[in-house]
């Protein structure tokens, strides 16, 4: 029994009026902010769509299927940009996703002493702090010259493969995707790391107890259990890649064409917007807003698809591999 003079209260005690009030206030505040976020997104869409309206009326669907961007001739189409956005992001996701998840496994599954693990983790996360322009410059001055001999060799010897169909001029899809993959690395690895480290250690211990080797435990038990989180990391990384602007504007070549070749220059929606907005006149602005709306739609679609797949897979992927 505690005396009445000590103010310590047991957990079981009834909440005070103040606690109830602050709890309610906090709840309504978060509720308010959550809905404000929704309202903000809707307002942005409304605003962009409103500014794009003249262009939507004038160009309609031909804007999505057209392939020229001609300010003089008033002919606009963003199919090459849509292609470039998806192509560069998918390439970046393939490279960055693989390495990001590998790093996450490496950092969570006791491959390293704890102190070293912490250091590595911080270094990978520091990559997120490097400004986009610096990545772009690094791409121009380091990545492209490094890639040139390899790319030229591949083109000279394997040009029957469409992926190597053109020689590398400098800026192009692959340099852009490579730099992009490094830019999404921190996002992918940080979130997958969280997912992997939140897998209950009992699961792994049980698998090892049943005679699984370290890699069997990782691939058969831990990865499937963390798969929802890892998938979420990949979707977020993809979203980041879709919207990346400055580094791509500097590295992708900004050429209005569609080519499957990795070395060919291309363009992305975000780069198009970054390049044309600062000097856009009254006639070009609605068209650019239309392009922005399409980019928004693509990002939204990717997120919805991600959420749906996530829901589907998370039902099946729980538990051990068969």
């Amino acid at each position: 029994m505690t005396s009445k003079t000590t103010p310590t209260r047991s957990i079981a005690a009834e909440p005070s009026v103040y606690e109830i009030a602050s709890d309610r206030a906090f709840r309504s505040l978060t509720w308010l902010f959550a809905w404000l976020m929704v309202a903000l997104v809707l307002y942005i869409v409304y605003e962009v769509a409103g500014k794009a309206m003249p262009a939507i009326r004038e160009h309609g669907l031909s804007f999505v299927t057209g392939t020229t961007w001609d300010l003089q001739g008033n002919e606009f189409g963003v199919l090459p940009e849509i292609w470039g956005t998806l192509y560069s992001s998918l390439l970046a996701l393939a490279i960055g996703g693989f390495f990001g998840v590998s790093i996450a496994i490496f950092l969570t599954q006791d491959f390293l002493p704890t102190k070293l693990e912490l250091a590595f983790k911080n270094i990978v996360e520091l990559l997120a702090a490097i400004p986009s322009v610096v990545y772009g410059l690094w791409g121009i001055f380091v990545v492209i010259p490094m890639m040139r001999p390899i790319a030229n060799w591949l083109h000279a010897h394997l040009d029957w493969i469409p992926l190597f169909g053109t020689s590398l001029s400098g800026p192009g899809m692959l340099p852009a995707a490579l730099v992009l993959s490094i830019m999404i690395l921190p996002t992918v690895s940080a979130i997958s790391r969280d997912a992997l480290s939140s897998v209950p250690s009992k699961l792994k211990e049980a698998a090892v107890g049943l005679g699984a080797t370290r890699w069997e435990a990782i691939l058969g038990v831990i990865l499937p259990t963390a798969s929802t989180g890892i998938f979420g990391a990949l979707v977020l990384g993809f979203g980041r890649a879709l919207g990346e602007t400055m580094a791509l504007a500097m590295l992708v070549g900004n050429s209005n064409q569609m080519n499957i070749s990795l070395f060919s220059p291309g363009n992305t929606l975000a780069a198009l917007l970054a390049n044309h907005f600062p000097e856009a006149g009254a006639s070009e602005e609605p068209v650019l807003m239309f392009a922005a709306l399409i980019l928004l739609a693509i990002t939204l679609l990717v997120n919805i698809c991600g959420a749906v797949i996530l829901k589907q897979t998370s039902k099946r992927m729980r538990g051990a591999r068969k």
């Binding site: 300010l71 492209i144 050429s255 064409q257 000097e279």
Partner: protein, 348 residues
Amino acid sequence: MLFRLATVCISSLLMLLLVGCGASSGDSASSNIKLQGSGASFPAPLYGRWFKEYSTATAGVKVDYQAKGSGGGIKDFIEHTVDFAASDAAMNDEEIAQAKPGVVMLPMTAGSVVLAYNLAEFKQPLKLSREAYSKIFLGQISNWNDPAIAAANAGTALPDLPITVVHRADSSGTTFVVTNHLSAMSREFADGPGVGKSVNWPESDKFIASPKNDGVTATVMQTPGAIGYVEFGFAEQAKLPMAELENKSGNYVAPTLENAKAALAGVEMPADMRAWLPDPEGAQAYPIVSYTWLLCYTEYDEAEKAAALKQLVAWCLSEGQKSSAEMGYVPLPENVVSAVKAQLDSIH
């Protein structure tokens, strides 16, 4: 530890910012007139120097210039968010009609646009005939060993290397100047890409676009076999070789200050100060040269502002011209200076 370090860095940065803000707000408090301008990025280094020198020499006047590009400047000017604007391409009739109450266009300096290239093995300055460089920008000449290029460069073998053309990705006054010149001399270019601040370049995986003058410069520097157009100052700063171009008289001329001056000398300044030099005459005239303009309103609400602006322009035309050449720009010829000074009277 890392966190603490970051906190220290951030707080010291904040301190610096606060101190900086304090200092600048103190400045503006003591000055009575502030002139706000925006526009062309090409003359920005020169304008920056002029306006700073003028502000220190003249107590009570502060000039603020934002280099956001010619198109942006014209837009700001029409929307009245600035006191003056600057543009590499003078306003066209449609834009002039939109600008209320009226616009006075004043050429302030001139500059040349050069074709910078990257050919490591090729030592002598590259000579490009009118046919050669117009066809390069049309995508019709696509290798450096093309006979049309080789003919003008006897003596040294040109490499068997594809030509990568680098042009501007953003809408730009520089593009306007170059396409204006190419269209004036090649019928095919005029019918194809045409003249504009952003044009529809030929579709090819050897045509690459980069943002801004520095983007084009960096890409040319990093790409063997590249050729691109940039303002003279950028190529010179990056130590990129610049091609000697065949002019209207058939001579090959380098983009030197004298040759740019020779190009300006051949042009008569019309009453509205919109002098285009798509293809200048003269034996030594460098072919791609353009004036760059300051745009002022004909009437200002505050008489003091108009007076300050007139004084500023007058200063730039006399004192300012002395530093033009030093910074890679072409000083205005005497007759143009007096013509521009006469125009100042129409600002109230």
